[in-house]
Point group: C2
Chain length 293, copies 2
Amino acid sequence: MVDKLAITGGTHGNELTGVYLVKKWLSSPSLVKRNSFTTLPMLMNEKAIDEVRRYIDCDLNRAFNLNDLLDESLTSYEAKLAKKINSILGPKGVPKPKVDFIVDLHTTTANMGLSIVVSNESKLTWQAISYLCKKEPRLKVYRWQGDEEDAFVDSIATHGFAIEVGAVPQGVLRGDIFLETETLIYHLLDFVEAHNTNTLESLPTEIEIYTHQSLVDYPRQKDGDIMAMVHPDRQDRDFAPIEDGEPLFLTFEGKIIPYEGENLHTLFINEAAYYEKGFAMCLARKETKRIES
Amino acid sequence: MVDKLAITGGTHGNELTGVYLVKKWLSSPSLVKRNSFTTLPMLMNEKAIDEVRRYIDCDLNRAFNLNDLLDESLTSYEAKLAKKINSILGPKGVPKPKVDFIVDLHTTTANMGLSIVVSNESKLTWQAISYLCKKEPRLKVYRWQGDEEDAFVDSIATHGFAIEVGAVPQGVLRGDIFLETETLIYHLLDFVEAHNTNTLESLPTEIEIYTHQSLVDYPRQKDGDIMAMVHPDRQDRDFAPIEDGEPLFLTFEGKIIPYEGENLHTLFINEAAYYEKGFAMCLARKETKRIES
């Protein structure tokens, strides 16, 4: 039973889709109200939203590791904010946090289309995802084991995931992406309502997912500056296969650097926020995920 | 006669095409060397480049108004930087500044393609543009009279313009846009060399340009926050015509706000940096510009 679901936006202050969707639902709560549970729309990093920046001191969506939440020596703006958010939505790790399900709204400058990033393995989370895949066949699912383990906003609750939609620049609100994300949330609320009231239609028994394998950094100089770009043939080809020998990067002098490795798929290609994190794209394996009923 | 030409990049620190092209030419100056004149590649706002931000205190590309350059009471980071740049490239307003021609490299999150923004009416500037239009038929030309008069970087010199290429998110380097911009600069250098040596081939006698008419802001609430998005039917339609009654904005509640006015063309639609400036797009009139020979 889901008693309370949080829709969080503005975890990154320059990803405007979530910011304006949450603002819409804060002023029109009836749009996200369902009978069997409470919905909590919530703006996350209001200072970063005001400044239209991803964060003030450090990435809020890497700040929810349990050790960090308990570490009083961490005093950055986002470390403190994470503790506050954890007290409102969690606390993380208890059997029954204040919210049962978190969907965290993001956008990306990569051409990820409408996608879900999941690192939660709960049965209900996967059922929700399979429901959404049925309602929205273009939806792609990325099972992330990324740069920081178990530190996402949605990790506070027992169930949940992040929605990533792109391509959209930081600081830009696109109407098409706003509308697509909004529709996806209404599907999710319908799912939870049906789950709670035992009126769920049959779900797909398996879905296609992309399971994280590794991160690929840009070729860099000794001082850390990039010395090549994503090759134009690879740009925008998120969720596309890549084979050994295909062009991966192009140096500023025009030399092609090919991909070397097994056949995988490329995701989050050339995301603006990941230059400083040290990766140019993610590599993932396309797999079939069985959904427990 | 052009004795010295400056290629400026990183005027906005999060527009990476210009930053990495200028870095390339600083380390390989022979690529932009021509016999009849000196080329000066120059990084403009290095602090903003380091922080991958448009600016530190205020927009450097609105800081070159002659009154502001002479005003010692202006002490923002960019106001001081503008004075320093003016002493290196100018000074603005003298008959023979240190550089004769400035091409300032920009990108935009709007779908502007490969475009030139010109507010300089010199004969040589227009000849250079007509040459580039011949070499690159996709090139579009926007004659700007915008939010701040005569305050662009390129206004320091007697001749020049800005190159705007998009769509590319802030903080992202795209290979295709890097290569297109680089090629355009080599054409410009060829033009100046031919001009200086009297070997110029015949130029188009007229070109199509888009002349600035007005700025359109987002519908806003009393507190200044936007209350509508660019309508999905208008998004990405830079340099496209717009007629009275066509959808212009979409409110968050789903209400269409139509365009009201004469038939014009829309440019710089939904550029990230212009939310704070208070405009959602520019309106321009398509005209034919005669090129003096």
